[in-house]
């Protein structure tokens, strides 16, 4: 038992990986078991993640060195820089890990019924498990080349999953191709930036690079490349063209994971800016760049969402808009990073709002996409003009939709209200105009979700949907868990912020602690 707990950081990625490779063999003998295998393994991973999170939040960061004689041996034989692949798990990394494991587990539960009718399920579950593995890898690793490898695995598996046949038309394949082009370009640029680091500092470990960072001309180029492509993968506005297609064409459970995957890219962006560069770069300029990206995403995302007729496409534009809130909150924190007074009075609060919004968004956005999937399963259409009166037959789905929509619009007592209020209050002290734009965007969000509610659920029972039934149990369970979490987070935001979000923010800000975890000597 003790050794399992000692190796928990490695097992978080090893178990889904093993399950992904066993699935095709198992699928030959028994098609029914593979969905349960994936669900059980992801459930086990969730437990391991919670255990590691408890460990990290009570005893500080955990280091796991792959292939060494001991798990914590970062500098063997008296080396001054680490040579092995190292997992460096601090409060921020495990915060993202918790989101990933929760979302992946619920997506697997939801898929049991949602994907029942499809063929090629062994491939679906292999890819789903690989996607979960790669997201864990991106979030827990302390090695930048290792990050690139997991980044590539995430891209490839999500491309295949987006194009997984959900309709007979060619649209999923088109969305997949679009995402493939975007992913390949971003992976190449990340590799180029890693090459720039390696050429200058002979190191691939992020803590080592951070400890010797000079911010030369080449580092500036690397910064531009990394910020641009990671913002692109996160779906921020000038580079958001892949998001609506990919999110709307993928199967609903996969869309939920894709939201978490793009947040993993956002995490990598924050990790690189805060942990590798930190105060060596001009924090005001880069902070404002993040703020502008955030405000553009918020505003353009929501205005594009209002005019959509396709329910999943509308929600996809909203996820662009929600990404904006995270960029805004963290961007304000970065802009005042060198000013201790401002950082103390509102900078940390703004970052808490942005980081808290990541987990809130993963919950309610996931819930909304799942309800859209439920509607699609029963009515076979995503066109809002063809829907109507579904509340008569799909009571549970309607309730879950109301919870999700209220949460994304920032209505108390749901979780969106908590994080948005933190962002408004702290950003107002930085620049009132930004807070006003954020509030306006929130109002528009409410407007567009009221529109969806009205056209899909309200109205008289339609002739063609008379025999529509409530969705199967596994889908209801997945949506119910998300709804409970949303209400819980909305009722007790102070607990979540204090015990999970605040340590994550401090882990980002405190670069000295990050490097000392690997190189020793605090």
């Amino acid at each position: 038992m003790n050794s399992i707990l000692l190796h928990a950081p490695a097992l978080i990625i090893a178990l889904p990986l093993l399950a992904a490779f066993i699935t095709p063999i198992l699928g030959r003998f028994n098609r029914k078991t593979i969905s349960w295998l994936a669900t059980c393994v992801l459930g086990l991973t969730l437990l391991l993640t919670i255990f590691v999170a408890r460990q990290v939040l009570t005893h500080g960061p955990i280091v796991y060195v792959f292939g060494a004689t001991e798990t914590g041996l970062t500098l063997p034989f008296g080396y001054t820089m680490p040579i092995r692949i190292i997992f460096q798990i601090d409060a921020m990394g495990i915060f993202m890990g918790l989101i990933t494991s929760l979302v992946a587990f619920l997506a697997a539960i939801y898929s049991i019924s949602y994907m029942e009718q499809h063929t090629g399920l062994d491939k679906y579950y292999t890819l789903l498990l690989l996607l979960a593995t790669s997201m864990f890898g991106m979030e827990l690793t302390g090695d930048i080349f290792n990050f690139f490898v997991f980044f590539e695995i995430a891209s490839i598996s999500s491309v295949a999953l987006i194009a997984f046949r959900s309709t007979i038309s060619g649209e999923p394949a088109e969305a997949g191709l679009k995402y493939m082009v975007v992913s390949s370009i971003s992976a190449l640029m990340v590799l180029f930036a890693i090459g720039l680091f390696y050429g200058q500092y002979d190191a691939l470990n992020m803590a080592t690079i951070a400890s010797v960072m000079q911010f030369t001309q080449l580092d500036k180029i690397a910064l531009i490349l990394l910020v641009t492509v990671l913002a692109m993968k996160a779906g921020s506005v000038p580079m958001h063209m892949w998001t609506p297609d990919a999110y709307s064409e993928a199967p609903a459970a996969i869309t939920m994971i894709l939201v978490a995957a793009s947040q993993a890219s956002l995490y990598a962006l924050f990790r690189i800016v805060f942990s590798i560069y930190n105060v060596t770069l001009n924090t005001v300029t880069v902070g404002w760049i993040l703020i502008i990206l955030g405000v553009l995403s918020m505003f353009i995302g929501v205005t594009m969402a209002i005019i959509q007729k396709d329910i999943k496409r509308l929600m996809a534009y909203h996820s662009i808009s929600q990404t904006g809130y995270m960029l805004l909150g963290v961007g304000v924190g970065l802009a005042v990073l060198t000013n201790p007074v401002a950082l103390e009075s509102f900078g940390i609060k703004a970052m808490e709002g942005g980081i808290f919004h990541i987990i809130n968004n993963a919950l309610y956005k996931g819930l909304l996409f799942l309800t859209a999937g439920a509607i699609f399963l029963r009515t076979d259409t995503r066109d809002l003009n063809k829907m109507g009166g579904l509340a008569h037959n799909m009571t549970y789905t309607t309730i879950f939709y109301i919870i999700g929509a209220a949460a994304i619009a920032g209505i108390p007592p749901f979780n969106g209200f908590a994080s948005k209020l933190i962002i408004y209050e702290s950003v107002y002290r930085f620049n009132p105009l930004l807070a006003i734009i954020a509030m306006l965007v929130s109002v528009l969000t409410l407007a567009s979700f009221v529109k969806v509610f009205h056209s899909a659920f309200l109205g008289p029972r339609l002739e063609q949907y008379k025999s529509v039934q409530e969705v199967p149990k596994s889908m209801i369970i997945a949506m119910a868990v998300l709804s409970c979490l949303i209400v819980f987070f909305g009722l007790f935001p102070n607990l979540i912020v204090k015990y999970i979000v605040h340590p994550a923010v401090m882990a980002l800000i405190n670069q000295a602690h990050y490097t000392a975890t690997i190189l020793g000597g605090i």
Binding site: S3, H7, A10, L11, A14, L17, L18, F21, I22, P24, I25, R28, Y64, V65, F66, G67, A68, T69, E70, T71
Partner: protein, 159 residues
């Protein structure tokens, strides 16, 4: 491509095929002491499959190269690879528990200029073989699928 190519090409392929296979497996087995490795060797073996498909045509080869068998081999290779990583869990994940143990691939490595000893490397050599198996099977499936698809299109165009 239907029905394969001329007699000259077929004869030469029959002669060369074995050598390509041997070279591919050589690259896999020597992955830890010379350039190459599991992926490269597996790709060489798969290129031999591609050669067979081009010269003899898909219909004839399909009875020898089964897609099902190749997919099973692919998954087996992957499972073997991760199993070796799991077996190192006595120390850490991916720990090289075979090296310097004296058994197969377990001789201690000599430091300095030397011709290289095949019997070193530990799990690196074993993992190379697992990767080689995976890559030759996966690329085999890919070329097989592509040639079947190409054949179907050609047949449709002829009609």
């Amino acid at each position: 491509m239907i029905g394969g190519m001329s007699r000259i090409v077929r004869t030469m392929t029959t002669l060369i095929f074995g050598f390509i296979l041997v070279y591919g497996f050589y690259v896999i087995a020597h992955g830890h002491i010379s350039p190459g490795g599991g992926f490269q060797g597996g790709a060489i073996v798969a290129s031999a499959f591609a050669l067979l498909l081009v010269t003899y045509g898909t219909d004839q080869i399909q009875s020898y190269l089964s897609k099902d068998l190749l997919s099973i081999l692919e998954s087996t290779g992957l499972v073997l690879f991760i199993t070796f990583a799991f077996l190192g869990l006595g120390a850490t994940f991916f720990y090289n528990f075979v090296s310097n143990s004296g058994g197969l691939f377990g001789s201690p490595t000599t430091i300095g200029v030397n011709p290289g000893d095949l019997n070193t490397g530990g799990t690196i050599a074993l993992m190379n073989m697992a990767v080689g198996l995976e890559v030759l099977a996966a690329l085999g499936v890919i070329v097989l699928t592509m040639s079947v698809a190409a054949e179907t299109i050609q047949k449709k165009e002829k009609q």
